[in-house]
């Protein structure tokens, strides 16, 4: 058989191929030839064939059939064969292959070979890809070579030992004796690899670390010699003597000096020396300075040294070389927590880096900028960060927006500034803000009472410009729904009030409903907003029309809302104003937790609730009897049950009757309510009757009680038991007025703990006549299946002498018989 072609020829031939297919063909042909050559067990040309195979492997073609041949080459006596054989092993074999272990014996022999270059090959291969079994078997040989006087082998053995330790950490002890005089070597190669070995051992074992601390003086000496010694051509790089070794020593010093005062003190001087004397014009010098700074920051260095380190980083920031700027920003980010003030001094340079073209640098600068924001620099920093938000790539926008919100929350100098900032973020990066910012913002806005007019005006103007950014649109429609009256009346103090008519506002909101840009969630927001305006605006008919149109919308969510709102107009019009009242100020719950629970006065924002995860239900279960549950016990129950209660909360527009105590995170989930009708049908249907349904008094004489008596308003409770179900207590309230003026628009609301269910029937009237001339009666039915102590919270609203009065009270003095 003719001699196989030489490697170079093959390479040349393959390179002439013009297409991938041609190349593949050549390769396949050659592979076939090589395979048959292997089969013939040809020793002479094995080396050449394997070399060709390796080339083809490099091009991406499979070469696994050459694995065994590599082994044969390694076992050969010829140096050429061994060289290629070991190279093949490193390229084709790794510890996942079965044949891997077969190498062990060969390597063992070669580690004891008479030629150092063969030993070198073996050490190299073992150190690059030896498996744990191989390492275990051969560790002894490596340890022996670590003690040899041949520096060529010693340095390789050291790095091989590093690999062994990584693979089999238990063997670390074994190498300890050999490390005794490693550092007294003159040979830089050995020194370098020894330092690497020592570093590896110290990182893995605190005992080793303690043991090697005594080497600090020696290391300091070596480093000093490197710096002070004259020009050494062999190790010089741009005027610096063996920078690789210097960096390695600095790194080991860092590990040894961490948390140890004595060691840190011993290295103080040398670190200062390196920091001040190193030439910074080339990358090499900066590499050493970088390592020095990292070391200074990590050990217990004195403050002067730390300031020196941060100043070096500050200088790095001004360097023209991008790489230097990058490492400076990275290091500053690590130190900003501990040396905050020192880093603050470089704030303006850092902020300038926001304008850099490089993505990695921009990201680092952004993170660092947020870390540096504090009460003093908030205005200036925010200006820069908002400018950055405007112009940055989309990948940054979400993070930047969240960062801005967080910073604004912590350090806002004034409410107006805060709202302006939020508006700016919403208008520039509106589509990138996170989902939970919408409820956060709404909560913030409700809290800034004096800014309502200003806020709604700005939001309205923003809506006129752009309705594509959903979070902005959602917040804006919510605000318009709440504060639309302020908008139309032109009451803004902060800036020039705009002239807007009710129809214009309704046009905008209706536009949102029909626009393709609006998501279903947004549409929900705007429909609710329109509904709220029915109590604030006078163009009720128009609103009625809109609402009734959506009663047949394809979107189930919208349809449900529209139907319920329709019902509100038709049957429960007297309730409407109370239900759609202005929302009270919300207290903050966890600021970073699941979204804020929106407390409503009869009106939930279903979209807000949608972004909530389990909280309402799970939290309620945790707060059993202590918290008063928020139940709707009014006559809306029948309306809800006819529709699909996919989300109990969204079904609960009218159901919810939240009373006071806003720190309740039990949420507006009317979880009990939907189940009430299914178990007790009679109550449902009779909800509208104002007569008590039961005339029988099953329980004999439960004494009546006074639940409330204040400002002339007295409310008495009388009790009855419903016959068919002994768990139900029927309470009739009697409200009387001893003052000289009538109390009009009287509304009584009640809530009970979670384990109860409450139903409130219609009152006899909503005027409590003066001077006890008459009473308003209303029936409450309480289901108490667990026979727990009855408690109730009541809310009263009425108009008295032309002023509207609200009051909350707890009723705890129920007689035991009423609930046992």
């Amino acid at each position: 058989m003719p001699a196989p072609i030489r490697l170079r020829e093959l390479i040349r031939t393959i390179r002439t191929a013009r297409t991938q297919a041609e190349e593949r063909e050549m390769i396949q042909k050659e592979c076939a030839a090589i395979r048959s050559s292997f089969r013939e067990e040809d020793n002479t040309y094995r080396c050449r064939n394997v070399a060709k195979l390796l080339y083809m492997h490099m091009l991406g073609y499979p070469a696994h059939f050459g694995q065994l041949e590599c082994l044969k080459l390694i076992a050969s006596q010829k140096f050429t064969d061994k060289r290629i054989g070991y190279l093949g092993a490193m390229l084709l074999l790794d510890e996942r292959q079965d044949v891997h272990l077969l190498m062990t014996n060969c390597i063992k022999n070669d580690l004891n070979h008479s030629t150092q270059y063969v030993q070198g090959l073996a050490l190299c291969t073992l150190g690059c890809m030896g498996s744990s079994e191989m390492c275990r078997d051969l560790a002894g040989e490596v340890e022996k070579l670590l003690k040899t006087s041949n520096s060529y082998l010693r340095k390789k053995a050291a790095l091989c030992a590093v690999h062994v330790i990584r693979k089999v950490p238990e063997l670390m002890e074994m190498f300890l004796p050999a490390t005794k005089n490693l550092l007294s070597e003159k040979n830089h190669g050995v020194l370098h690899t020894s330092v690497v070995l020592l570093t590896e051992m110290c990182e893995r074992s605190p005992d080793m670390l303690a043991h090697f601390r005594k080497l600090v003086p020696q290391l300091v000496r070596i480093l000093k010699n490197l710096i002070m010694s004259g020009y050494s051509p062999e190790h010089d790089v741009s005027g610096i003597s063996d920078p690789f070794l210097q960096v390695r020593i600095l790194r080991l010093l860092r590990i040894l000096g961490k948390n140890d005062d004595d060691s840190s003190e011993a290295m103080n001087d040398i670190l200062a020396q390196v920091a001040t004397n190193t030439e910074t014009s080339k990358n090499v010098g900066n590499a050493i300075l970088y390592e020095t700074v990292l070391t200074i920051m990590d050990i217990k260095s004195e403050s002067g040294l730390r300031v020196l380190a941060i100043n070096i980083l500050g200088r790095f920031l001004l360097n023209n070389d991008k790489n230097i700027r990058y490492v400076a920003l990275t290091s500053l980010l690590k130190t900003v927590q501990t040396d905050h003030n020192a880093v603050q001094r470089h704030r303006s340079t850092i902020v300038d880096c926001l304008k850099d073209l490089d993505v990695s640098i921009k990201r680092r600068a952004m993170e660092l900028s947020f870390a540096l924001v504090n009460g003093n620099n908030i205005r200036g920093m925010m200006k820069e960060l908002l400018y950055f938000l405007d112009s940055c790539d989309p990948e940054f926008k979400a993070d930047c927006a969240s960062g801005v919100f967080l910073a604004a929350e912590k350090y806002a100098p004034s409410k107006r500034w805060h709202i302006d900032t939020i508006m700016r973020v919403l208008t520039t990066a509106g589509s990138y803000v996170r989902d939970d910012s919408v409820p956060n913002l709404i909560q913030l806005i409700t809290n800034s009472v004096e800014m309502h007019a200003y806020t709604v005006q700005r939001l309205y103007k923003a809506l006129l410009d752009d309705i594509s950014q959903q979070p902005l649109v959602q917040v804006a429609s919510w605000c318009i729904g709440e504060y639309g009256d302020l908008l139309v009346s032109g009451q803004c103090e902060e800036e020039e009030p705009i002239q807007v008519t009710e129809d214009e506002v309704l046009d905008v909101l209706e536009g949102l409903l029909v626009s393709n840009l609006s998501t279903p969630v947004t549409r929900g927001y705007s429909l609710t907003a329109i509904m709220k305006l029915s109590t604030r605006f006078s163009s009720v008919n128009r609103i009625k029309k809109v609402v009734s149109i959506y009663g047949s919308s394809i979107d189930v969510e919208l349809q449900q809302r529209a139907v319920e709102y329709n019902a509100l107009f038709k049957k429960y019009d007297h309730m409407r104003s109370a239900l759609l009242e202005r929302m009270p100020i919300m207290e903050k719950t966890a600021s970073n937790g699941p979204t804020e629970i929106v407390q409503t006065n009869g009106e939930t924002d279903p979209s807000v609730v949608e972004t909530k995860h389990p909280p309402p239900v799970t939290q309620s279960t945790n707060q059993a009897t202590d918290l008063l549950d928020l139940l709707g016990g009014n006559d809306m129950v029948p309306v809800i049950q006819t529709s699909v209660p996919t989300k109990p909360a969204s079904a609960g527009g009218e159901l919810l009757d939240l009373l006071g105590d806003l720190s309740l995170s039990g949420g507006p989930a009317p979880t009990p309510a939907p189940s009430v009708p299914t178990s007790q049908p009679p109550f449902l249907l009779d909800g509208l009757s104002s007569q008590p349904l039961f005339n029988d008094i099953a329980a004999a004489g439960i004494p009546p009680m006074t639940a409330y008596n204040k400002n002339g308003l007295k409310i008495d409770f009388t009790f009855e038991r419903a016959n068919p179900n002994p768990n139900i207590a029927v309470i009739t309230i009697n409200a009387s007025n001893s003052t000289e003026a009538d109390m009009t628009d009287f509304v009584f609301q009640a809530a009970v703990p979670k384990t109860f269910q409450l139903q409130l029937l219609s009152p006899s009237s909503n005027v409590v006549p003066a001077l006890n001339q008459g009473t308003v009666t209303q029936v409450i039915r309480v289901l108490n299946p667990q026979k727990q102590q009855l408690r109730m919270r009541i809310k009263l609203t009425y108009t008295h002498r032309a002023s509207s009065i609200q009051d909350l009270a707890e009723v705890n003095n129920f007689p035991p018989q009423s609930w046992q």
Binding site: L87, G127, V162, H192, Y290, N323
Partner: protein, 158 residues
């Protein structure tokens, strides 16, 4: 510690690659492909470091070749640049003004040089002279081993 070191050609062909962690062939191919694409997408003025997965990548371009290393979090990126530079210098000294063709036609030599300079991802010899000396000696050894055979071949006795 270097996890892997490669050199790439301008059009994205991988020339040399050295892996210091065990990974399957498929994984290696995938990583190589992804990395090549990411690096080739970088503009010339950008900095030499990038974060990729959980590693730091240090790369530098020399004429039509990119040399890149994946290093661990605690490694010094600037000194890694120096290591890359040192390797290129070694190649340059050995081949005499190295160009891409040298590396293509003598890939095994490029690997030998790399293996004399780095071991297990760390530098084993910081002196340029010593590395080159070792390679020279090894090459000599190789020639001595080859010599007898070719003589025999020449006179027709294989």
């Amino acid at each position: 510690m270097l996890n892997s070191k490669k050199s790439l050609r301008f059009l994205g062909k991988l020339r040399l690659q050295k892996w210091y962690v065990p990974l399957s062939d498929k994984e290696r191919k995938k990583i190589s492909r992804d990395l090549v694409q990411t690096i080739l997408a970088r503009k010339p003025k950008m900095c030499s470091f990038l974060e990729w997965r959980d590693l730091k990548i240090v790369y530098k371009r020399y004429a039509s070749l990119y040399f890149c290393c994946a290093v661990e979090d605690q490694d010094n990126e600037l000194i890694t640049l120096e290591i890359i530079h040192r390797y290129v210098e070694l190649l340059d000294k050995y081949f005499g003004s190295v160009c891409e063709l040298d590396i293509i036609f003598n890939f095994e030599k490029a690997y030998f040089i790399l293996d004399e300079f780095l071991l297990g991802g760390e530098a084993q010899e910081t002196s340029k002279k010593n590395v080159l000396k070792a390679i020279e000696q090894a090459d000599l050894l190789q020639e001595e081993a080859e010599a007898p055979r070719s003589v025999l071949e020449e006179i027709g006795l294989t």
